[in-house]
């Protein structure tokens, strides 16, 4: 089922909001795995937004009496404590916020820049396209994590610089996807028709060609959110992400956690579970969106 198919049922919804919920419902019905992904993503966003209100303890509070306390829920140690006695559950909840914030901002920025590059390059072709394509090739020639590491090492480890690094990595991928759609769309008859009635290049580009790229863009966007979270966590695992003591999922798995894995195995498990659930949610949602938006995969 596609969005277009879904709109046939839009009379079920009475208002715009209801229409949106109907679409979500229909999407989940036709793409059950995508629906599960959507629920997981909602859950993670909920924790990211309301985490500070929900967290049982102060995520930065050091507790010398309870270093490496094992998880005992009836004593209030839901997921145990780390090497400084800090509460794992609270740290994971607060960590969700920085993880999601970094991922969303960087992917939005990367998508916008990549979209513009792909749109302009694909639409005008010739030298602007050639230059943009070379630029994309250059960025793709460097392994993702190495590029991210190089950028962060140059700019210094901070949330802002991690965002810049991730966004920059996403630009070429988005540009390529948008460009390929634009290339096939700009020779279509409706584009020729609008040119014939006197529409300007800008108008054709943004009103007629650009909307065609939204479906593939949405798929890339969702899929890349998962990847962005992994890159962010990898950087913080390597000590180049969110600076301590602020909790970050990747950093929680590094250093003292690995050294004391025998003593406190829970520290090596829970942050990873949180990470995997999040990435899993984005991947499922991305797959579901792809299956429902790509006509070739329609069943």
């Amino acid at each position: 089922m596609t969005i277009a198919d879904m709109s046939r049922y839009s009379h079920i919804g009475l208002g715009a909001l209801q229409g949106a919920w109907t679409r979500v419902w229909l999407f989940s019905r036709t793409q059950p795995m995508g629906g599960i992904g959507l629920v997981l993503v909602f859950f993670v966003f909920f924790v990211a937004i309301f985490g500070p209100l929900l967290a049982p303890k102060d995520p930065l509070a050091i507790d010398g009496n309870n270093l490496f306390h094992s998880p005992e829920w009836y004593k209030g140690f839901y997921l145990g404590t780390d090497h400084l006695g800090r509460d794992n559950l609270s740290r994971i909840m607060i960590g969700a916020r920085s993880s999601i914030t970094i991922a969303v901002i960087s992917v939005v920025a990367g998508t916008i820049v990549g979209f513009m590059i792909g749109l302009v390059g694909g639409f005008y072709g010739s030298w602007s396209d050639a230059i943009l394509q070379r630029l994309v090739e250059i960025l793709i020639a460097i392994p993702t994590l190495v590029l991210a590491l190089a950028i962060v090492s140059v700019l210094g480890p901070s949330q802002r610089n991690v965002i810049i690094a991730i966004a920059l990595i996403q630009v070429p991928n988005t540009a390529r996807v948008v460009r390929s759609v634009v290339l096939s769309t700009r020779v279509m008859e409706f584009v020729t028709a609008s040119r014939a009635v006197g529409a300007s290049n800008l108008r054709i580009m943004f009103r007629h060609v650009a909307p065609q790229t939204f479906a593939p863009l949405m798929i890339v966007f969702t899929a890349f959110l998962g990847l962005a979270i992994i890159i962010e966590a990898s950087l913080s695992f390597l000590g180049l992400g969110t600076p301590p003591p602020q909790p970050a999922w990747g950093a929680m798995l590094a250093g003292k956690t690995l050294d004391n894995v025998e003593r406190a195995p829970w520290n090596a498990i829970f942050p990873g579970v949180a990470l995997s659930i999040t990435v899993f949610g984005f991947n499922l949602l991305g797959d579901g969106l792809r299956d429902s938006l790509d006509p070739r995969l329609r069943r």
């Binding site: 070379r134 392994p143 590029l147 140059v154 390597l238 000590g239 990747g250 991947n283």
Partner: protein, 319 residues
């Protein structure tokens, strides 16, 4: 074919120039400049001694115009002078060459493990589409896409240490000096990374094989009574494997940079650990040399894949 290879090699040049420019620019946007960053160290505090600063700037050639800096850097690259490590003063190229075999070995082991998992998994998944075995195979592969490599690595440490009370050999041994110790040091990282990579490859094998299995010639082969096994292995897989070659080739090249985390977890002195150390020490000549090496490997891999393609598929002929 030769003309094609030559043309591809020529196309190499602008991309390589672009990569070198990118690296050059990256190293120039260091806040302050590279010399200040090196002298104040990782904490980013305090102010460096002006005399030392001037000396280091002179050493790194930062006092010259940017254009001169770039061309002398590129010129030196060609002469094998990749600069010297700030940390220990050794030539960067030499450092990279000594560390490369380990990373290459780890990447190769990873790739072999990934293929050993991914090919059967993808094929079974495709020929038994929408059965429990397909779902199981897909869950295994989506697990690989979902779990970050450092977590899989951490879990592996956890299982080995806590459950089996086993610690990997401490001091690193070269492959030709002590193959068994070397194997025990590398295998866990290769297993963790291999599983993650297998997820990507298995998905690709499944989807391309599914496409091929729906084609007429496969139906014909089955209709004339050939056993399914033969049809899948000798008819369908041959065509389905082509796009997989691309993915595998690119991933293999990417692995040389992708082993960073495994090297870190298992304490292996390869290129990845070297990169992390260089970043911590603000050893910019090393960082810049490593990024260049990674890029060259990926570009070469791209070329090899295209040539391999033509060799594997007689329909593709590059004029």
């Amino acid at each position: 074919m030769q003309a094609y290879i030559l043309r591809r090699l020529l196309q190499f040049i602008p991309v390589l120039i672009g990569v070198s420019l990118l690296i050059f620019i990256l190293m120039r946007i260091v806040p302050g400049d590279v010399a200040i960053a090196i002298l104040i160290g990782p904490d980013g505090e305090g102010s460096p001694d002006p005399a030392l600063l001037e000396e280091l700037r002179d050493d790194l050639g930062l006092n010259r115009p940017l254009v001169v800096q770039y061309f002398s850097w590129v010129g030196n690259l060609f002469q094998g002078d990749w600069g010297e490590s700030v940390e220990d003063g050794r030539p960067v190229l030499k450092k990279i060459v000594t560390r490369f075999p380990l990373t290459f070995e780890l990447a190769t082991m990873t790739m072999l493990i990934a293929l050993a998992i991914a090919l059967p998994l993808g094929v079974i998944s495709a020929i038994r589409q929408n059965t429990w075995i397909d779902y199981l195979a897909r869950i295994i592969s989506i697990g690989g896409l979902t779990m970050p490599s450092f977590w899989v690595g951490a879990l592996m440490v956890l299982v080995l240490v806590v459950v089996f009370s086993w610690f990997p050999p401490f001091a690193y041994a070269e492959l030709w000096e002590d193959p068994w110790t070397n194997f025990r040091q590398l295998i866990w990282g290769a297993l963790a990374l291999g599983y993650l990579l297998a997820a990507v490859v298995a998905r690709m094998v499944r989807s391309t094989l599914l496409e091929v299995l729906r084609q007429d010639y496969v139906r014909t082969a089955l209709a004339k009574g050939l056993p399914e096994r033969n049809v899948v292995v000798r008819h369908a897989l041959k065509n389905a494997i082509l796009p997989v070659v691309t993915i595998v080739g690119l991933q293999y090249a990417g692995l040389v940079g992708g082993t960073v985390i495994m090297e870190r977890i298992w304490n292996l002195p390869g290129l990845g650990t070297m990169l992390i150390q260089a970043i911590q020490f603000r050893d910019y000549p090393v960082v810049q040399g490593l990024v260049l090496v990674f890029a060259i490997i990926i570009l070469l891999a791209n070329l090899l894949i295209d040539i391999l393609y033509a060799w594997l598929d007689p329909r593709i002929r590059y004029a």
